[in-house]
Amino acid sequence: MNSVLPRILVVDDLFGRELPGVANRERENLCGKFLLAEEPRTDSDDTPPFEISDPLARVVFCRGQLPTISGVGATVENDLPGTIETIRKGWTGAVQKGDMPWSLLLLDLCFYTGRVTEESNRRTRCMPEGRPSDDNPNAYFGLTLLDAIHREFPELPIFVLSSKPREAVSLEFSRRGALGFIDRGHSRGPELLRDALWQHGLVADSSGEIVGFSIPVLLALREARRAARHRENLLIRGERGTGKEVLAGYIHRVGSDEIWAKQDDNAGAKRYSPFVTVNSAVLTPNLFASELFGIQPRTATGVDGKVGLIEIAKGGDLFLDEIADTPPEVQAALLRVLQERKIIRVGAREPLDVDVRFISATNSDVEEAVKGFRLDLLDRLRLGGTIWLPPLRDRRTDIPILTRRFVVEAENARRGILTREITAEAMEKLIANEWSGNIRELRACLFDAVNRHPDVEHLVPEHLRLATDLTRKAGTSPSQSEIKPGYLERARGGDSLPALLAIQAGVHFDPRNIAQWSGRLEDLRRGQTWLLARYLQAALDATKRRTPLHPDGLIQIHPAVKLITGDSSMTASKAADIIKRILGPLNDELQGDLREALDIAVRLRPRTPKNSSTAI
């Protein structure tokens, strides 16, 4: 099965139930209606009853209840923890393995519980009678699930899929984080699902130009697809070598409907529009006017005309890379074009209308005054939005798939080079590297490795020449951690926790190379302790109580600990114990809020309880 296909999870009591010895007809028909290819299950030999020539997505079903198989006499109950665990496996678990996470979750609202009787089984096989509370729109289990899922997986896009009336629940599902509602019985249901995937789903690039299944990349692709639907100018931001031009190409492609038109019943001729890349070398004070606006032909003087790049891009997109380096004269000219939507060729008198979307890119903080970039131009360049591309260190789980791609490319670029396997140790070294030059640097490193070792069947760590080494020097303070605020924090002020967990999952201590890691227990422990301290600091900031007398806020340790543990029933004394365990080892080094939090905790709980442990 195509592994780039989107992957949908459907949580529904009717479609998710398993039937002993027979197929779930309702599930089959749902798949046939929405053109969803069910993923083969390891515990089943069932073959699908049909073949879909062009599936919209892969699909996995979850009942959301226990038991999954319920014959007459069984009692069916809703299963919140089990459902969350299923989602977690396909979300965090998939990311850690470098697989595609859930692109979209389709969630039913009403889950019927209770006993499976002869009568209820006759009506719908293996379904229970239902209880009156099941059908109460204020208490649908689907809304409870929605709450829990959105809290733990805020980036996971969720749509409600139900045949219940939308009006009764639209406010509630909107409040709880669902992005939309698809009526199961709607005649245009498949089109609505396709649209939902396109607009809101975490969908990889099916063309394979942008490689990766990590959540930061899928989020960037989603922003790109949303932006592609309108013709407003866009700004792409990201460090050097992150693929800004490739993303601009993606925006252009999806905006031209090349990818989605083929799914349309009424697909007409594909609409092609130009995509012009402006080489930043031509944006000099002497050259820019003729290159961008063109030259008016004048037969009287024998001047040959030239069509400018903006005119060539008419009806399409013009990509301007490294916009921050543009000289002031060019900025002024561009600003006029963006304001008036007209150009005047060099030597012409009459302006020409232009319908061009400008997609710009930069790796700089253009807002900084020292850069001298006109903010009024910047505002027009990002009128349609800003898309952030993550650095490679924020998407380490994509390194294996990128590596395999680049190694094959390098092998194919020259004749006579052997095909090689990449050893696990080499891959670990690649994953652990900092990659300040991002994807471009990774590609260069792998091409270098392949070209210097054309006659081997294995790529080993010794073949790799890396610019940086991630090994920490002994004694470096963990508070100057290398996990610097990256793309996720800068762009959204949110957390980099998924990336951090992915990094941790990828760390490997090689028993054959003990020199690299022996004697570092104290460093590792301090690193973990400071990480927890920073986690706690964020919670203290988030839960500060601000009053007129204390505008900077008073810290509150009880709400802060509830926040980091997710335990709303936590008592104040237990919260104090947790603070002491986290911060106690750092007692002599604390300042500010953390110092104050520890002091409060010690005042509340002067003695450590007898049954406490050092672990949280």
Partner: protein, 176 residues
């Protein structure tokens, strides 16, 4: 105001419209449409839809007709008088007032039009069913016979229209 036990008619309506018509039949028909359009390959699957979901229509039709016939009786506000304290009133008074309330309800809401629209929609489904099952789903070179495809679409739309008509019926007893 005393709450009525309208659960029985609602349960029957839910079973027909929600659980069978929308969740089973229409879902199967939408999937079958993809077979007919060539998006799905599976001749046996299409046969199964005809022999299972579509074949249930004649029996389900009987349930539906009973459901629609029972609506005016089971969902009329005259049932209020079967519950306390109204059930303790004098029989003569109860009879007059309940009939008055029932007639006001019929005037206030287009109950009988709703029912006749639903019956007409059921008849359209029935007609479409007969024509469809008498068609020959001949497939040549991956394409189905045009007449069969057209009759299928008519039947599917009739079913969708029926679902909409049944949804129009109120989901609680309306008291003036």
């Amino acid at each position: 105001m005393t709450r009525f036990d309208q659960a029985d008619w609602q349960n029957r309506r839910s079973e027909f419209n929600h659980q069978w018509l929308k969740n089973r039949l229409l879902s199967a028909l939408d999937s079958a449409a993809n077979v007919i359009k060539g998006r799905i390959r599976g001749a046996k699957y299409l046969d199964a839809i005809f022999s299972k979901e579509i074949a249930e229509w004649p029996e389900r039709r009987r349930d539906l007709l009973t459901l629609l016939t029972d609506f005016e009786t089971e969902m009329s506000p005259r049932r209020l008088f079967d519950t306390s304290p109204f059930s303790e009133w004098e029989p003569d008074i109860r009879e007059v007032l309940s009939e008055l309330l029932h007639q006001l309800w019929l005037i206030r809401y287009p109950i009988r039009r709703w029912i006749s629209d639903a019956l007409a929609a059921a008849e359209a489904v029935d007609k479409g069913y007969v024509e469809l099952v008498n068609s020959d789903p001949v497939e040549r070179n991956g394409a189905f016979d045009a007449q069969f495809a057209a009759r299928f679409d008519v039947f599917r739309e009739a079913c969708r229209s029926l679902a909409r008509n049944i949804e129009t019926l109120p989901n609680q007893i309306l008291v003036i």
